[in-house]
Amino acid sequence: MIKEELVNSNWRVRKGRIIRVKRMTPSEKLFEIELDNGRAMDYEPGQFVQVSVFGVGEAPISLCSSPTKRGSFELCVRAAGRVTNAMHALEAGDEIGIRGPFGKGFPVKVLAGNDLIFVAGGLGIAPLRSLINYVIDNRREFGKVDILLGCRNPSEMLFADDLEFWQKRVDVNFNVTVDKGSPDWAGNIGLITSIIPGVTINPERTFAVVVGPPVMYKFVISELLKKKIAERNIILSLERHMKCGMGKCGHCQIDSIDNYYCCQDGPVFSYDRIKNVAKM
């Protein structure tokens, strides 16, 4: 048996150095990461990377910063299992492994020139934040921008700084709702679907970008369709079990005749392409 180093292996990881860790909620932390070779990560909003914590494993995590941000990138990680918990134990200065970016991001070229409505549920705000900040950094290229954000309760609210920033801006309409309020919560209470009807939409020129847990999609989409937004203009990002990110391991395959691999054909899809998928 010959054992040798495989220099061109696609399984090689790049070194990422954590330069900042910020706790956002009891279960989510924000990591700012710099590639050690100093080279910028070349990515699009909606793409993801495979993060390695050696000895524990790899997990796919969305890039949540905008590519317009230079020098470093950010990941928002929920402690959900082994790798993600191990990430939570890391501090600034620690190293992680990075493969990617992978997948098809949001179709920014298609979105340009149109009105946008962003609908984010829970952790879905992570990939959407990348796109929202990208849109804000290129604000002139887009029409009206509405941001609808929902989460279970105020303590689970992510990206407080960004939310404040969006709230303050005149060029985006920001709406947030929580399923369950708390004594110091003065905002909306109710499911995310309850604030969609209130948004004025010109279906001719609006794209809806929706990211959230699988259960959310069905209800949000039916609200959006009621607003006459075309199926092709509803953009979603799907989650699947994922190992390789290279369309080989088979885990992320989506149950539909079209045989999509979430990691390569997605994670971003327009609704018309996946509407027959039973479990989104």
Binding site: M1, E4, S9, W11, G55, G97, K248, G250, N259
Partner: protein, 348 residues
């Protein structure tokens, strides 16, 4: 020598010398009987160990291209630059590969050459020489190789043997195959009469091998388009044990899992790739509890779609070779030919 295709003759008595010679410079593997009518590709050093007449082995030769467990990286925790991508391979000759398995290897070659390429697979493949062996008879009632168009040689080998009684006819398909023929000094060019005999064998075979399911292969994808909600899936799903045997033994199943293990120093370790199976409960389950394919019927449907529908869109070919392994290995008695027949009937 010439660039035209070449046919050679090896006397059966010389097979042993051939294998012995090969085993001097290569690891030679071939089908060996495991008892109870089962065979497995196993290392051999003489032809006596080889089961020339064999039905498809328990595992297909894919285990040499994509091992059950494979180290992809070695690493030390906390220090990313110490990680090294690894390849373990061995100069191997696989002897006695049936046409269905040649087809299977070709399927995998396509998958792993697609970008981003999997160099572990590709480099290992480059170190493997494949010697095919023709089936002149059906191996058993579970095969559907005629339906899947894999009972005749269609490339995918370096050398291809056909048993012609006293002698083997050997077709040289690659330079590597030619080198083996040349260096062994055991082969003679085939005569015209011997070529005629080969054609006769093929003709006889054509009359014996008939589509095992009464359907035109080309219609299968369309049938699957209509079968998403077929009751067939629930019927077989209820019988299925979810054991994953059918995927592990399938020459074209290649799904895998990746996991890290630490050494006892707790500071270094390796990242290992292991075969995985879409038939086991956890395959599509994610942290948080959602299972994107939660029922056995859905999982079985998925497997069948990967063989007869999905792969056509992505790779323009069926990912079933008709080898019949999935049927043979299934203790629940789920039979591919029966499932296909039921789907065909329903769609009619």
């Amino acid at each position: 020598m010439g660039t035209h295709t070449r046919y050679f003759i090896l006397r059966k008595d010389d097979l042993n010398s051939f294998i012995v010679k090969l085993s001097r410079n290569h690891k030679v593997v071939a089908p060996v009987s495991k008892g109870y009518g089962n065979y497995a590709f196993t290392e051999v050093t003489s032809a006596n160990d080889i089961a020339l007449k064999h039905i498809p082995t328990i595992l297909p030769p894919k285990k040499y291209f994509l091992p059950q467990k494979e180290t992809m990286l070695s690493f030390s925790t906390g220090h990313v630059e110490n990680a090294e991508a690894l390849l373990e391979h061995e100069n191997t000759v696989i002897f006695g590969v049936h046409t269905c398995d040649l087809n299977g290897i070709q399927c995998l070659n396509i998958v792993f050459s697609e970008r981003p390429r999997d160099y572990n697979y590709l480099r290992r493949k480059d170190n493997i020489t494949v010697i095919g062996l023709e089936c002149t008879e059906y191996c058993d009632e579970h095969a559907s190789c005629n339906l899947m168009n894999s009972n005749f040689p269609n490339g995918g080998y370096d050398l291809f043997f056909t048993d012609m009684g006293e002698v083997f006819m050997a077709h040289v398909n690659t330079q590597a195959g030619d080198d083996l023929v040349d260096s062994s000094n055991l082969f003679k060019p085939a005569t015209q009469a011997q070529m005629e005999a080969l054609y006769a064998i093929r003709d006889a075979k054509r009359s014996r091998f008939k589509d095992e399911v009464n359907v035109d292969r080309k219609k299968l994808p369309a049938i699957f388009d209509k079968s998403e909600n077929s009751p067939v899936w629930k019927a077989i799903g209820d019988k299925c044990l979810g054991c994953g045997n059918c995927t592990n033994v399938c020459p074209t199943c290649y799904c895998f899992d990746i996991a890290d293990t630490l050494n006892l120093d707790l500071k270094s370790g390796k990242r290992v790739r292991t075969w995985d199976s879409c038939e086991v409960e956890t395959f599509a389950k994610v942290a948080g509890g959602e299972n994107f394919r939660s029922g056995q019927a859905e999982r079985l449907r998925h497997r069948h779609y990967r063989k007869f529908r999905f792969s056509l869109g992505k790779y323009y070919r069926f990912f079933c070779t008709g080898c019949g392994r999935c049927t043979r290995t299934c203790m629940a008695g789920i039979r591919l030919k029966e499932t296909l027949t039921a789907l065909v009937k329903e769609a009619a």
